[in-house]
Amino acid sequence: MYTIISPRLGTPGDEFIPQEGVNIDALLDGGLISTDSVKKSSKVKSEPKEQ
Protein backbone atom coordinates (compact mmCIF):
# COMPACT_ATOMS: atom_id res chain seq x y z
CA MET A 1 0.00 0.00 0.00
CA TYR A 2 1.19 3.49 -0.85
CA THR A 3 0.33 6.74 0.90
CA ILE A 4 0.21 10.13 -0.78
CA ILE A 5 2.68 12.67 0.59
CA SER A 6 2.56 15.36 -2.09
CA PRO A 7 -0.64 17.31 -2.73
CA ARG A 8 0.32 17.14 -6.40
CA LEU A 9 -0.91 13.56 -6.42
CA GLY A 10 -3.99 13.96 -4.29
CA THR A 11 -4.85 14.44 -0.66
CA PRO A 12 -1.84 13.78 1.57
CA GLY A 13 -2.47 10.81 3.81
CA ASP A 14 -4.84 9.11 1.39
CA GLU A 15 -3.99 5.80 -0.18
CA PHE A 16 -2.28 6.13 -3.54
CA ILE A 17 -3.65 3.74 -6.12
CA PRO A 18 -1.25 3.69 -9.07
CA GLN A 19 -2.72 4.02 -12.52
CA GLU A 20 -1.42 2.23 -15.56
CA GLY A 21 2.08 3.28 -16.57
CA VAL A 22 2.94 5.07 -13.35
CA ASN A 23 6.55 4.74 -12.28
CA ILE A 24 6.26 3.92 -8.59
CA ASP A 25 10.00 3.86 -7.94
CA ALA A 26 10.38 7.43 -9.15
CA LEU A 27 7.54 8.60 -6.91
CA LEU A 28 9.11 6.87 -3.93
CA ASP A 29 12.56 8.25 -4.74
CA GLY A 30 11.16 11.76 -5.04
CA GLY A 31 9.38 11.51 -1.71
CA LEU A 32 5.99 12.04 -3.33
CA ILE A 33 4.52 8.87 -1.89
CA SER A 34 5.53 6.49 0.85
CA THR A 35 5.14 2.80 1.21
CA ASP A 36 3.65 1.21 4.27
CA SER A 37 5.12 -2.17 3.59
CA VAL A 38 7.09 -3.48 6.53
CA LYS A 39 10.63 -4.41 5.69
CA LYS A 40 11.58 -7.96 6.48
CA SER A 41 13.94 -8.29 9.32
CA SER A 42 17.39 -9.56 8.65
CA LYS A 43 17.58 -13.31 8.64
CA VAL A 44 21.16 -13.25 9.81
CA LYS A 45 21.14 -14.21 13.41
CA SER A 46 23.50 -12.51 15.73
CA GLU A 47 26.28 -14.51 17.16
CA PRO A 48 25.34 -16.09 20.49
CA LYS A 49 27.06 -14.58 23.41
CA GLU A 50 29.70 -16.69 25.08
CA GLN A 51 29.12 -17.37 28.69
Partner: protein, 140 residues
Protein backbone atom coordinates in the same frame (compact mmCIF):
# COMPACT_ATOMS: atom_id res chain seq x y z
CA UNK B 1 -10.38 33.26 -41.06
CA UNK B 2 -10.42 30.47 -38.54
CA UNK B 3 -13.89 29.48 -37.43
CA UNK B 4 -12.67 28.02 -34.14
CA UNK B 5 -9.27 28.46 -32.68
CA UNK B 6 -7.69 27.74 -29.35
CA UNK B 7 -5.34 29.54 -27.13
CA UNK B 8 -4.13 27.68 -24.12
CA UNK B 9 -4.97 29.57 -20.98
CA UNK B 10 -5.17 26.87 -18.38
CA UNK B 11 -4.13 23.51 -19.80
CA UNK B 12 -3.29 20.72 -17.41
CA UNK B 13 -0.37 18.34 -17.38
CA UNK B 14 0.64 15.52 -15.13
CA UNK B 15 3.91 13.68 -15.44
CA UNK B 16 4.01 10.29 -13.80
CA UNK B 17 0.75 11.10 -12.05
CA UNK B 18 2.24 14.28 -10.55
CA UNK B 19 0.26 17.41 -11.38
CA UNK B 20 2.86 19.90 -12.61
CA UNK B 21 0.43 22.30 -14.24
CA UNK B 22 1.54 25.21 -12.08
CA UNK B 23 5.18 24.72 -13.10
CA UNK B 24 4.61 24.25 -16.82
CA UNK B 25 4.87 27.00 -19.41
CA UNK B 26 4.94 25.00 -22.62
CA UNK B 27 3.82 21.59 -23.81
CA UNK B 28 3.98 20.05 -27.27
CA UNK B 29 2.54 16.64 -28.01
CA UNK B 30 3.64 15.12 -31.31
CA UNK B 31 1.56 12.22 -32.55
CA UNK B 32 3.60 10.65 -35.31
CA UNK B 33 3.17 7.55 -37.45
CA UNK B 34 6.38 6.82 -39.25
CA UNK B 35 5.92 6.70 -42.99
CA UNK B 36 7.16 3.69 -44.90
CA UNK B 37 7.42 3.90 -48.63
CA UNK B 38 5.59 1.24 -50.58
CA UNK B 39 5.83 2.73 -54.02
CA UNK B 40 6.08 0.19 -56.84
CA UNK B 41 6.57 0.24 -60.61
CA UNK B 42 2.80 0.35 -60.93
CA UNK B 43 2.65 3.78 -59.26
CA UNK B 44 3.15 7.15 -60.86
CA UNK B 45 3.40 8.93 -57.53
CA UNK B 46 5.12 8.12 -54.29
CA UNK B 47 3.06 6.00 -51.96
CA UNK B 48 3.42 5.49 -48.22
CA UNK B 49 1.99 3.35 -45.48
CA UNK B 50 2.08 3.64 -41.74
CA UNK B 51 4.94 2.22 -39.74
CA UNK B 52 5.58 2.42 -36.04
CA UNK B 53 4.20 5.27 -34.01
CA UNK B 54 6.89 7.57 -32.70
CA UNK B 55 5.27 9.99 -30.28
CA UNK B 56 6.97 12.68 -28.24
CA UNK B 57 6.03 15.19 -25.58
CA UNK B 58 8.22 18.23 -25.04
CA UNK B 59 7.59 20.38 -21.98
CA UNK B 60 9.13 23.40 -20.34
CA UNK B 61 8.90 23.57 -16.57
CA UNK B 62 10.06 26.01 -13.97
CA UNK B 63 12.71 24.35 -11.89
CA UNK B 64 12.12 24.01 -8.17
CA UNK B 65 14.18 22.08 -5.67
CA UNK B 66 11.57 22.29 -2.93
CA UNK B 67 10.10 19.11 -1.53
CA UNK B 68 7.78 17.27 -3.95
CA UNK B 69 8.26 19.93 -6.62
CA UNK B 70 9.79 19.74 -10.10
CA UNK B 71 13.19 18.26 -9.32
CA UNK B 72 11.81 15.67 -6.93
CA UNK B 73 9.25 14.66 -9.55
CA UNK B 74 11.59 14.45 -12.54
CA UNK B 75 15.07 13.39 -11.40
CA UNK B 76 14.31 9.70 -10.90
CA UNK B 77 12.51 9.41 -14.22
CA UNK B 78 15.68 9.73 -16.30
CA UNK B 79 16.36 6.48 -18.08
CA UNK B 80 12.90 5.22 -17.30
CA UNK B 81 9.33 5.25 -18.54
CA UNK B 82 6.25 6.98 -17.22
CA UNK B 83 2.82 8.21 -18.23
CA UNK B 84 2.01 11.79 -19.22
CA UNK B 85 -1.51 13.20 -19.25
CA UNK B 86 -2.42 16.43 -21.06
CA UNK B 87 -5.63 18.39 -21.47
CA UNK B 88 -6.20 21.69 -23.29
CA UNK B 89 -8.04 23.09 -20.30
CA UNK B 90 -8.83 22.17 -16.73
CA UNK B 91 -12.51 21.73 -17.60
CA UNK B 92 -14.14 18.33 -17.63
CA UNK B 93 -13.08 15.94 -20.39
CA UNK B 94 -15.26 16.33 -23.45
CA UNK B 95 -15.15 16.31 -27.23
CA UNK B 96 -13.96 19.91 -27.10
CA UNK B 97 -11.56 19.26 -24.23
CA UNK B 98 -10.02 15.87 -24.97
CA UNK B 99 -7.52 14.21 -22.68
CA UNK B 100 -4.37 12.71 -24.14
CA UNK B 101 -2.42 10.06 -22.27
CA UNK B 102 0.99 8.95 -23.41
CA UNK B 103 1.82 5.73 -21.59
CA UNK B 104 5.33 4.32 -21.51
CA UNK B 105 7.09 7.52 -22.55
CA UNK B 106 10.86 7.42 -22.07
CA UNK B 107 12.88 10.28 -20.59
CA UNK B 108 16.48 10.14 -21.69
CA UNK B 109 17.82 13.45 -20.41
CA UNK B 110 17.26 16.12 -17.80
CA UNK B 111 19.15 19.29 -16.88
CA UNK B 112 18.95 19.57 -13.09
CA UNK B 113 20.76 22.90 -13.24
CA UNK B 114 19.84 25.21 -16.09
CA UNK B 115 20.00 28.75 -14.86
CA UNK B 116 21.16 32.19 -15.85
CA UNK B 117 21.81 35.20 -13.70
CA UNK B 118 18.66 37.11 -12.93
CA UNK B 119 16.28 34.63 -14.57
CA UNK B 120 13.97 31.97 -13.27
CA UNK B 121 15.44 28.55 -13.87
CA UNK B 122 13.57 26.38 -16.36
CA UNK B 123 14.08 22.90 -17.72
CA UNK B 124 13.14 21.44 -21.08
CA UNK B 125 12.22 17.78 -21.18
CA UNK B 126 11.48 15.50 -24.10
CA UNK B 127 9.64 12.26 -23.49
CA UNK B 128 9.86 9.82 -26.39
CA UNK B 129 7.90 6.79 -27.45
CA UNK B 130 4.91 5.32 -25.71
CA UNK B 131 1.35 4.63 -26.69
CA UNK B 132 -0.97 7.59 -27.12
CA UNK B 133 -4.62 7.41 -26.18
CA UNK B 134 -7.25 10.10 -26.58
CA UNK B 135 -10.49 10.14 -24.65
CA UNK B 136 -13.42 12.52 -24.97
CA UNK B 137 -15.53 11.26 -22.09
CA UNK B 138 -14.45 11.07 -18.45
CA UNK B 139 -13.37 7.60 -17.38
CA UNK B 140 -15.97 5.68 -15.40
Amino acid sequence: MAISSTYLSNPTISINNVDLTDQCTSAVLNYVAEQLENTTFSNTSRSFTSGLFSNTVTVTLYQSYAATETEASIFSLVGDNCAIVLKPSSAVISATNPQYTLTGAYLSAHTPINASLGELSTIDLTFSGGVLAKIVTPPA
